[in-house]
């Protein structure tokens, strides 16, 4: 009678034929991993070096009267694929940020109850005046957009540099 368990019959394992990794082979593998990580870092550095600057068009976002105090307006800047949010702060000042949460790029909105920018995906909160992270998982502040108000019209000028 064969006393072998079923799984051994189904998946026979020949220990002697199996190539065990020696310490030296493992060392070689680690050295190769180190080289691969170095290449990866070099690749990222090259990507940063040859990264194209985004265009910085001057576009009219809205008229001052279109956005009452304490309200927000969504727009796109600098391209149609970059959602942004314009906020009319109490006191008359306007601020604008990229609408993509710095955590996982969900769209943030102005929570009028708390007066903060809120990312509903993972409950990230940003200061509406500065874009700084107040709570939640976002690792960085929201990228800001420079504005100019001329003759009652609000213009987006450029993205603020970090």
């Amino acid at each position: 009678m064969n006393s072998e368990p079923g799984h051994v019959k189904d998946f026979p394992f020949q220990r002697a034929a199996d190539g065990l990794v020696t310490r030296r082979e493992y060392l070689k593998l680690l050295a190769l991993t180190s080289f691969g990580l170095f290449l990866g870092n070099l690749g990222v550095a090259a990507a940063a070096l040859f990264r194209r600057e985004k265009p910085e068009p001057r576009i009219m976002v809205a008229s001052v009267r279109d956005v009452p105090e304490g309200r927000s307006l969504n727009f796109d800047y600098p391209t149609a694929d970059d959602p942004a949010i314009l906020v009319h702060l109490p006191g008359g000042r306007f601020v604008a940020y990229s609408q993509k949460c710095t955590h996982l790029a969900c769209a943030v909105y102005l929570d009028r109850k708390t007066g903060r920018l809120h990312c509903p995906c993972h409950d990230g909160f940003f200061d509406v005046e500065t874009g700084q992270v107040l709570a939640g998982p976002p690792p960085r502040p929201l990228p800001g957009i420079e504005l100019s108000v001329e003759s009652g019209d609000i213009y987006a000028l450029r993205e603020k540099k970090a």
Binding site: L27, L30, A31, L42
Partner: protein
């Protein structure tokens, strides 16, 4: 005497060196992994100023790792 590590030809001595090399190389690889994640984070954040320095640190780590690997055991 068997088991003492003062003779480079003792198998125990060589095994200890290889094990030390593995630990050190794992440390180097861990540091490089950390550097790579920081570099990608900086790239995504648009803060490209530190990326060259991080790549250089990764290169230095690799050279150190290579040195550790090549130590005779």
């Amino acid at each position: 005497m068997k088991g003492e590590l003062d003779d480079p030809n003792q198998p125990e001595y060589r095994t200890a060196i290889v094990q030390a090399k593995i630990v050190l190389l794992l440390l180097v690889v861990g540091i490089q992994l950390f550097l790579l994640t920081v570099t990608v984070d900086r790239l995504l954040a648009g803060e490209t100023g530190e990326i060259a320095g991080l790549a250089l640190a990764s290169a230095i780590s690799f050279v150190i790792g290579l040195g550790i690997w090549r130590v005779r055991a």
